[in-house]
């Protein structure tokens, strides 16, 4: 039997999965790697350790008894967006990779955002002007490294390009990852000259962009041997994890949206055009030619709830996170919708969409003498979801959204899923793919192999296994809270700034 191998290079780990031709998961392996913070605002990763981890996970999965019964016909890559790694002409990294969470380019991003040039660059590239963007990071290198160092840079590539380069010796970037660099013109599908000028580089400093189903890659013979592959195994470049997660949730056409809440979160829609938002609040990435994935990312997903669990979870007992999360959610279920009027702003990590305010901070507001710990638990969950709803309301100004398809470790917890449904007033679907990004990658490979006629047909095979219906009374109530939530989020901006100054 044939199988597809997907390699998803995420922020904290790589996950390597095997799927059969009906997109059923056969087996998987994962390996983690750390993020270094050598200075505040810096987030870096060691490309060699990621590469070793990919090799280890891949080798271990392909030598697994279960997988051995299957014949790998294709390998496909997904990865986090926005990483940047300078390499010299021998392909050797000149330093660690700088990942999306890195904020060193804050000043550069702010200056660009407030300029006419920035406005044009956003319209052409679809990527918000934010420190996460490689465009801004390369500009930062230009401003903060000696010219002699900058001259040594042969190319700026992403972590995914580096891994593919190590495995194949070929330097290519898929259009999906390219479209998250802030340097790629998503209308002409070429590197954007204005953005390149701003960053201070030439097209030859970047890899050749190719469509996501580009399959002219070949593993080096050492690896064909090491992985016990055949030379006929297709190696497909793939897309970004965000685009794949949308496909893997079954959403590739207009009318529906996906909501992901893992550690961070995002709401995404698919469309034939980018969303031209005058305030540049949405990202727009390319899936395939003429197909855009647009949406808004939030910093404050499950990580905020985990913060709550660590600080205020049952004390003195040695329980793991997962168990304590479940316990707290049971307590939260005993509190009626609206948490007795206790409202939480979840901006512990500043916020991206829709505020794009790095200085935003968290707040519990409306506390009265009858509130108990469980009200705070519920308010925390609701706050995370109001934040998602505020992205959703803006998205709905541009796209109609019928149903919500959710994924991620937190969104799919029953209480989160029900509150999502109630707050949005829409039906929420959970599919049987626990890992939508990997499933999306497998669907692309299967489409390329001719199992499906196109990605739309492939996405239609994703089945929902759980459905949550919105409760109208709760929806009416949540709508009123969400209005207060939005007002406070903007109204408090001045005080957030003042508090951040004091927080130092």
């Amino acid at each position: 039997m044939n199988c597809i191998i997907t390699i998803d290079i995420g922020t904290t780990k790589v996950k390597v999965s095997a799927f059969d031709e009906a997109t059923n998961l056969i087996g998987w392996r994962q390996g983690t790697y750390p993020t270094f913070h050598p200075q505040p605002d810096y987030s870096e990763q060691d490309p060699e350790q990621i590469y070793l981890t990919v090799l280890y996970a891949l080798k271990s999965l392909l030598n697994d008894e279960l997988t051995k019964k299957h014949h790998p016909v294709a390998v496909v890559f997904g990865a986090s967006m926005h990483s940047i790694l300078p390499i010299d002409k021998h392909g050797v990294p000149l330093r660690n990779a700088v990942i999306w969470a890195d904020n060193r380019g804050r000043d550069e991003a702010n200056a660009l955002k407030n300029s006419e040039e920035g406005k044009v660059i956003y319209e052409q590239t679809g990527t918000p002007l934010h420190p996460m963007s490689p465009l801004v990071k390369i500009r930062w290198f230009r401003n903060h490294t000696p010219a002699t160092w900058f001259e040594k840079v042969y190319k700026f590539i992403s972590i995914k390009e580096y891994i593919i380069y190590q495995l194949t010796g070929q330097l290519v970037v898929d259009q999906s990852i390219a479209s998250s660099t802030g340097l790629f013109n998503i209308h002409s599908l070429k590197w954007d000259s204005l953005a390149l000028d701003y960053a201070g580089i030439k097209p030859q400093h970047l890899s050749e962009p190719v469509p996501i189903d580009f399959a002219e890659l070949k593993f080096k013979k050492e690896y064909v041997r090491l992985f016990r592959l055949s030379s006929a195994t297709k190696v497909i470049v793939g897309a970004s994890d965000g685009c794949f997660a949308t496909v893997g949730a079954g959403v590739v056409t207009e009318g529906n949206a996906t909501i992901t809440i893992g550690s961070s979160g995002a709401m995404r829609v698919a469309g034939k055009q980018m969303i031209q938002d005058s305030q540049q609040r949405f990202f727009n990435y390319i899936l395939t030619e003429g197909k855009y994935i647009s949406g808004g990312p939030t910093n404050n997903g499950g990580v905020v709830f985990e913060w709550f669990v660590q600080q205020f979870g049952a004390s003195g007992v040695h329980l793991d996170m997962e168990h304590t999360v479940k316990q707290l959610l049971i307590e939260a279920e005993r509190v009626p919708a609206g948490a007795g009027g206790l409202l939480f702003l979840p901006y512990l990590l500043g916020e991206r969409a829709p505020l794009w305010n790095a200085n935003a901070r968290g707040a519990y507001i409306g506390v009265n003498i009858t509130h108990e710990r469980r009200h705070f638990i519920r308010a925390t969950v609701e706050g995370i979801i109001y934040e998602m709803f505020s992205i959703g309301k803006l998205l709905q100004q541009y796209r109609s959204i019928e149903n919500l398809y959710i994924n991620g470790a937190y969104a799919t917890l029953p209480l989160f899923a029900q509150i999502l449904s109630d707050v949005f007033g829409k039906t929420v679907y959970v599919n049987d793919k626990h890992d939508s990004a990997s499933a999306g990658a497998a669907l692309l490979a299967l489409t390329h192999l001719g199992v499906f006629s196109d990605l739309e047909a492939a996405a239609q095979t994703i089945r929902s296994v759980e459905t949550y219906q919105a409760n109208a009374a709760h929806h009416a109530q949540y709508t009123r809270f969400a209005e207060i939530f939005d007002r406070l989020s903007y109204k408090l901006a001045e005080d957030f700034d003042a508090l951040v100054a004091l927080q130092g």
Binding site: T12, A57, G91, G313, L319
Partner: protein
């Protein structure tokens, strides 16, 4: 400075104890308590009162039974030079060997095994200065040490050294248990990882790694496997080879030096492991780049 202290030393039998002091302060003293580095491994217990101190640049308010543990290069004191009303006791140990990223060797007096001392040193370097809240056990042990020294009964030297060992073990255990209680394995793992990177050439065992995150080695192995996808030793090898790859391509060091620096006992062992993980021999990997 003319502090109301009760120095219990020097005593010829305890060359490894630089200071053992009880301080009882009945009035606020304005210029007697500046931030300073005393040297040695210093353990300070608050017995009575409330003190506001700067501990290595961080402001802390300390209450009875709180304990501050400092490495030889770290300092503490009052931000306003003021010594508040209350009482304290502290001990300063003079290890035979202890520098940042060097091994800790307490001295022959200690019965803690050589390996455990090294591990203790690493934990102190990565966690100190430590402010341990409400660690009454440490306080009690310090009082017992004082009593032994004062009373000088039969074999009190032995008893004092045993109590010192117990004090240090208590502090280290408390430290790793605190890790465990945070319900935050990823965070504990991150700290362990940093410690591994800081001493890649050390022959780490699973037991040592488990101590760092405050759990038994069986539970530790399971947790690491579930979280990272690797067994603890395979994860360590991964870090070693990643560092070796960097050195192979960015330095001109010999293969043997790289092997030893990254914790392999021979270049043969290094080459075999490298080949197994990457598909290349180190020499081939360096030449082809990549």
């Amino acid at each position: 400075m003319n502090l109301p202290v009760q120095p219990l030393l020097p005593l010829p039998d305890f060359a490894h104890i630089r200071e053992l002091v009880r301080l009882k302060n009945p009035t606020v003293r304005l210029n007697d308590w500046p931030v300073s580095v005393r040297g040695g491994v210093q353990i300070v217990c608050v017995l009575e009162g409330k003190f506001e101190w700067m501990v290595e640049g961080q402001r802390h308010v300390l209450y009875p039974n709180d304990v501050v543990v400092l490495c030889p290069w770290q300092g503490f004191g009052s931000p306003t030079n003021t010594l508040e009303i209350g009482s304290l006791s502290w001990i300063i140990l003079e290890p035979e060997l202890f520098e940042v990223h060097r091994e800790l060797f307490l001295g022959k007096w200690s019965t803690i095994s050589e390996n455990d001392q090294k591990l203790m040193g690493r934990l102190l370097v990565s966690h100190a200065p430590m402010v341990l809240n409400n660690l009454k056990q440490a306080n009690d042990l310090l009082l017992r040490i004082e009593a032994e020294v004062k009373q000088a009964e039969f074999a009190y030297q032995t008893r004092v050294n045993q109590l010192l060992d117990e004090l240090l073990v208590t502090i280290v255990r408390h430290l790793s248990q605190q890790q465990n209680q945070r319900r935050d394995f990823p965070h504990a793992f991150e700290q362990l990882e940093q410690m591994l990177r800081d001493s890649l050439d050390h022959p780490w065992t699973v037991e040592e790694m488990a101590t760092v995150v405050g759990s038994g080695s069986t539970a530790f192995t399971e947790k690491v496997k579930a979280y990272s996808g690797f067994s603890p030793l395979n994860y360590l090898i991964n870090i070693r080879i990643a560092e070796a790859m960097r050195q192979l391509r960015q330095t001109s060091k010999s293969l043997t030096d790289i092997a030893l620096d990254t914790g392999f006992y021979s270049s043969q062992h290094f080459s075999t492991t490298f080949k197994k993980l990457t598909g290349y021999t180190p020499g081939h990997f360096r030449k082809k780049a990549p």
